[in-house]
Subunit: 208 residues, 2 copies
DNA sequence: GTGAAGGTACACCGATCGGTTTCGCTCTGA
DNA sequence: TCAGAGCGAAACCGATCGGTGTACCTTCAC
């Protein structure tokens, strides 16, 4: 692990932060094939310093991914003071997903990409990607439980798959597939009767 | 391009075929980072021969992917003599998709993976992946038109996204997400009223 | 002043990368 | 019988890979 105190806290205000931010950007833009030298140069950090905080390139990759996860999730999920219906909150996520795809420099979901690029099963970066995935699913599940859906686990998993499918489909096509994520999510929510007319929590249709 | 006559026809019965098959396998198992030397050794082909048929590693990658595409598609799509309903044919695709995920050595859809791994926008392999994608969508669209669906293009694109989402979701989780693809497809078909009770070809909604 | 801590600069390591070249063997068709 | 194409083995090229070792600089507490 090889972590110094300043690296953990981030109060360093420099070296490690710069390194991880640059790493997240370069790995996202160019893939995991980016070399250490290019990484350090972009971050303005010497290789010597990098290897003082991390034992290997793989650790840097995982740490950079882990550092970017909270911000990425916060950009997609509704704020803590969003009091709209579960349906609106869920659909909002997919609207923001499609908005990010319109960005120049957009290259898909970094976590989905990493999971495809890194073939080693127990690579630390894969665990980070999986955790992001789980948190997204957990958000969906929470909103669906609030809406009184019959099978919140399955539907939450399906909505996460919509997220994944939108990103990798757009990746294959080389262009953002506008409207695809929101329309799929809406259909899935309709089928589960998660509508705006339904008050959150007051489940009305318990049968089958 | 640098293609000799024997390479094009494939009647060579050896060198090129062995090379592309080994390339498809290794690239799929280990990613595009596999070296030329490992590739040639696995194929039992010298580098010298390889560079007589292909100008670069990138061309080998694209050719290997293109060679594997028809078989991959044939394994997923129904046979030409499948006379079941459009719904059954579509759901059959997703059942087969989930079956392939149960294979040991399964590592996701090779075309979706390549699109994630290769960052260069105009890489020839990306075009191959896109074509596979388009053919899958075209199959869905054909079946949906036959079923008389109102918006076959959108629904076909959604079903392809289910395919993508299943594979990349399973990739992130590191395990096949059993039942996810079939359940999503079934919901989407239900919402579009593509049911077994509906006769194929006897479209009831003629609009668009 | 002094020494430890944290940092940069840079040469360096062995390994491997994509790609080229040379050599010699084998097969084939005239 | 012999020319020539096809191909494998292997040396070789310059570049780059991930990772180290060393020397020097700055900052700051004492």
């Amino acid at each position: 692990m090889n972590t110094s105190s300043t690296a953990e806290t981030g109060t360093d205000g420099g070296t490690v932060t710069r390194l991880l931010d640059a790493a997240a950007r370069l790995f996202y833009e160019q893939g995991v094939g980016v070399g250490i030298a290019a990484l350090c140069e972009a971050a303005g950090v010497s290789k010597r310093s990098m290897y003082q905080y991390f034992d290997s390139k793989d650790e840097v990759l995982a740490a950079a991914l882990a550092r970017s996860a909270p911000g990425h999730l916060a950009r997609l999920l509704p704020g803590p003071y969003d009091t709209t219906t579960p349906r609106a909150r869920i659909l909002g996520v997919f609207e923001r997903i499609e908005q990010t795809a319109a960005d120049p420099g957009y290259r898909g979901c970094p976590f989905v990409s990493i999971a495809s690029e890194v073939k080693v099963a127990d690579h630390p970066a894969r665990a980070v990607a999986r955790e992001f995935h789980d948190q997204l699913t957990a958000f969906f599940r929470g909103a669906l439980v609030e809406a009184g859906v019959r099978r919140p686990d399955l539907l939450a998993q399906q909505l996460t798959a919509v997220h994944d499918g939108f990103f990798s489909g757009s990746s294959v096509q080389g262009r953002p597939l506008r409207g695809l994520a929101t329309s799929m999510a809406a259909t899935l929510l309709d089928a589960a009767q998660v509508g705006t007319s339904r008050r959150s929590g007051t489940a009305a249709a318990p049968s089958t």
